[in-house]
Symmetry: C2
């Protein structure tokens, strides 16, 4: 077990390194922090911390930098979540108020988060799987061609063309529309297949095929749209670290474009509370020197999607976690209101 002071030394190293971006030595540490001991003592502590794998030396004659394991300990035991200042809170509210639709909300959120954390921001669109149906609309475009429009409680709209096997009358259409809505409005997407299963049976024989086709398209939309979408912003912030590791910026940009990777990472994050994945904990080559801070957000108690930031492992964890958490809360509120 590490003594209290050694943990204190680790905390000091992390804080200084995050601030200065340079390996920190024993002397500088005692000068900037009131550890109450001499550099020589700190050196001994550092030797222990290094042996345990919490810090490392880039070169023999250089200061120490935290390892992924060191950051992990820092996040888990040494640092809290730093609440935002009230001007910051007000800024968030001002920034998000006045959004007109879902795209706008997500767009504003991503810009806000990027600005606040000065890192790359990622916001997942509210997921369809966890949301409920607000309305299903059917429009007749041609005798045997319908448009299916699905509206969710999070304000998302999806539409699909349906080519019918047979012409479908206006009355049948109105009938289907009414019955379909009666069954699914307010229900969760996952429950829909169950709820509409026997619907074709209650129609005239000649219409059954069309009804089945429409339902098939609806279910397909639900499944397809489970591939969730992301919005990304603030990639220019990556260049703040370009003098450090110009090599790393490319794989990170590539990873960001492969949205699958991010979706997987976000999917693994807890629904509530801030999740932090540090360096190699992200099982992706390109992100091995970055950390991902993610949190769920939603209009009610339940998280419908995640948002967060991607930045270098050397980041201000308390501040970033605070910003991410605060933004998630406000977005949740906005969603609940709309």
């Amino acid at each position: 077990m590490l003594s209290e002071r050694r943990l204190e030394v680790l905390r000091a190293i992390v804080q200084d390194y995050v601030g200065t971006e340079e390996p920190v030595g024993s002397k500088a540490l005692t000068e900037r922090h009131r550890l109450g001991v001499s550099p020589a003592t700190v050196r001994n502590d550092m030797a222990v911390l290094e042996e345990e794998g919490f810090i490392a030396q880039p070169h023999t004659s250089a200061g120490r930098i935290p390892t992924d394991k060191g950051y992990r300990l820092f996040v888990d035991r040494l640092a809290g979540v730093k609440p935002l200042s009230s001007p910051e809170r007000r800024a968030i509210q001002n920034f998000l108020d006045g959004a007109v639709d879902l795209d706008d909300i997500v767009g504003r959120t991503v810009r806000l988060l990027a600005q606040l954390t000065r890192q790359v921001a990622v916001v997942q669109y509210p997921s369809l799987t966890r949301s409920t149906v607000r309305h299903v609309e059917l429009l007749s475009l041609a005798p045997a061609r319908l448009m299916l429009v699905l509206i969710t409680d999070t304000g998302r709209v999806e539409q699909r063309m349906v080519d019918c096997p047979a012409p479908f009358g206006e009355t049948s259409l109105a009938d289907l529309r009414a019955r379909l809505n009666a069954r699914v409005v307010g229900r969760r997407f996952t429950d829909v297949p169950q709820l509409v299963q026997d619907l074709p049976d209650s129609f005239e024989t000649e219409d059954r095929a069309t009804v089945s086709t429409v339902l098939a398209t609806l279910l397909e939309t639900l499944v397809e749209e489970t591939e969730e979408r992301l919005m990304i912003g603030g990639t220019a912030n990556l260049t703040r670290f370009v003098h450090d590791f110009p090599l790393t910026i490319r794989p990170v940009l590539e990873a960001l474009e492969e949205q699958v990777v991010l979706l997987k990472l976000f999917g693994e994050a807890k629904d509530s509370g801030v999740t932090v994945r540090i360096g190699h904990e992200n099982e992706h080559e390109g992100l091995s020197s970055t950390s991902v801070v993610a949190v769920g957000y939603g209009s009610g108690d339940e998280a419908v999607a995640k948002l967060g930031v991607v930045g270098p492992t050397r980041m201000d964890y308390p501040g970033t976690m605070g910003a991410v958490r605060a933004v998630a809360r406000y977005v949740g509120q906005i969603l609940a209101e709309s």
Copy 2:
């Protein structure tokens, strides 16, 4: 006026520089191109080209690189548009086929373009201003709360909430829906205000306020959505040049995030034919060492939006122009079919 051979020298310089990414000298030029003259002659030609401002020397004792003006001449007079190979054409078709909706089409296009040109790709969503109305749908969510859904011929769907000044019955709603559609379906967005102007007058007094509110919301949607959206991809390609100018990558990323800038640039591009803006011709600080290659695309003869790439001024113009043009054509086809 520059002699034929001097133009040939300029072409050779541009081609070599684009290939090698290094200033090109007179000796190397004569070795790689059949100019039929000696290095000394080429040196004289270079001196003239430099005096005219088409090429420049980074250092006194270095080779020459083209200036923006040099690239401009190259693009305008010395290079054609390189058609794609047939495997490339097939690849485009395969890549774009099977897109399910507009988001998907735009997403695939942007990835395709980024891959093909190995540069940053930008695709503008089909603009609402030039498209026509396919359908307007009105849904009653609560006694005095409606949802307005607008569907365009390009497959785009926009929805807005409408808070009515007074409760609005189902029959009135059906009436409004029918009459509204009768007037605007198939019409251009710009014509809509004119077409619906007198619609409230034909309703009962108690419903007029609501009808007006609905129409106001519709018109607002048309105007608001004129702020067009963009999708960007392939930013990782920027890092291919990071060893050259690590400084420039940041302003470019920033410019890309300020979509207004790109929209302006794209707006200035011609509707038909490939438009190239080179270096400082882009009136934006961050893009002064990049070129923008843009082209309009659309489902019919008319361009409904633009797409293109952003890359270093030192790019393969003929190839890039060919790829951009080809992609625009195929996307137009896909849009026309759907």
